[in-house]
Symmetry: C2
Subunit: 271 residues, 2 copies
Amino acid sequence: MAERKALPIGVFDSGVGGLTVLKSLHEELPNEDLVYLGDTARLPYGTKSPASISRYAGQATAKLQEQGIKLLVVACNTASAVALETLRLQMDPLPVIGVVEPGAAAAVQARPRGKHLVLATEATVGLHAYRDAIAGIDPDAHVDELPCEMLVALAEEGWTTGAVAEAIVHRYVDAFKEGDFIPNSVILGCTHFPLLREPIASAFDDDVTIIDSASTTAAHARELLASAGLLHDAGGSLRFMATDGASRFARVGGMFLGKRLTRADIEIVDL
Amino acid sequence: MAERKALPIGVFDSGVGGLTVLKSLHEELPNEDLVYLGDTARLPYGTKSPASISRYAGQATAKLQEQGIKLLVVACNTASAVALETLRLQMDPLPVIGVVEPGAAAAVQARPRGKHLVLATEATVGLHAYRDAIAGIDPDAHVDELPCEMLVALAEEGWTTGAVAEAIVHRYVDAFKEGDFIPNSVILGCTHFPLLREPIASAFDDDVTIIDSASTTAAHARELLASAGLLHDAGGSLRFMATDGASRFARVGGMFLGKRLTRADIEIVDL
């Protein structure tokens, strides 16, 4: 086991959004080596067919397996919703974590029988990934799902605070401040949205719990590695691979990671 | 020539944005049959390599050639910038029109030696398509190019008027209200942006000319067909093909076209 402990954790996303998950993993597990792969040449996954998404995710996983990884984190809501079981077979006996299950579990734990509002992309909402995951844990929970595509563009543009961010968030969520469904839990169900935590939180009352699936996924990864005796204590490196666009990856990804990246930090790979 | 006159005009885009061009063509040429193909399965083109874009555009053109068309309109700025010459060879001797050249020509005509601000996607700005096209016609012109990705999301969300649209437009363009480069012409250099003409125009002074490349492309198509004796007088039908996502195409595309579309109006094709 000594050797396996020292292997990196592989993190996969269709683009740069999963870097919010990488950031949380790095904070939660500062002594683990992390290797990230963004399939930027084929994003967005959300508009692709499930068969294509599974195939792409399988190719990305194979590339990470070549590096030798001890755990795969699928830091992409669409791939988590569509391809998690396929990737578990491919990685067997090594573990695979998606972002949807930890986020759903954390929401239920914070608000049993709660009223959960899922903010996500159109693709994730269409798959009802969080609704189904929450229903599987807490049948008494109420869930509503809201597609918020503009928040993705907002995060990628880096306008994460200020008047424009506030106006857009309010336009999406003000309908949930009164009426039949007033949430007590708001799930950031897209890897881009942790960047917008501040304007989202301030659009709701203080007693609404904000669930960040990046940090809940990182906490779940720590628990899983600890229980398997696979925690490492001498790493901490970050590696970045992408399938296209090193400059854009560095510029936008740097914001998501909260750390300056340059073009030279990104290795372009073929899948 | 009688037979060729009656053939439809083919219109191609990576997604639904080109429907603003289709709308302008239908207004300018109400007696022409129009057939539209959106390569929605592979959008966005802007992040792909030039070789991939050329290949995809060639496949889309071949599909439209199968329908029998008399003119191809490339209603996609990225494909116009990257693949126009390749597509001209493929369509030869039939004509091909892109969106960049008519927009650039109209801007120069309206404002000789002008100061042109091009609002476009990051991809189009990176290719300097409008800057180079304008420089080729009017070497004394000044051009600045501004990537405005949020405007794409704004148009697709349908928030084309109101406080959010105004706040976003102002955040982009207010830097051009004073300083060294104050434009007297603003080019809507993305097929999505004609939907946002109102908030964009109102963010500038009244003496700034707004150039809509959708309507200038339609005007150019009419001139070209007229001079070739290929104008039809008994058509007017619209047909829609897409490579994925009929529901989303109908919903978002309907806004771009300014006409209600249903899922059943969209034929899903393989390229």
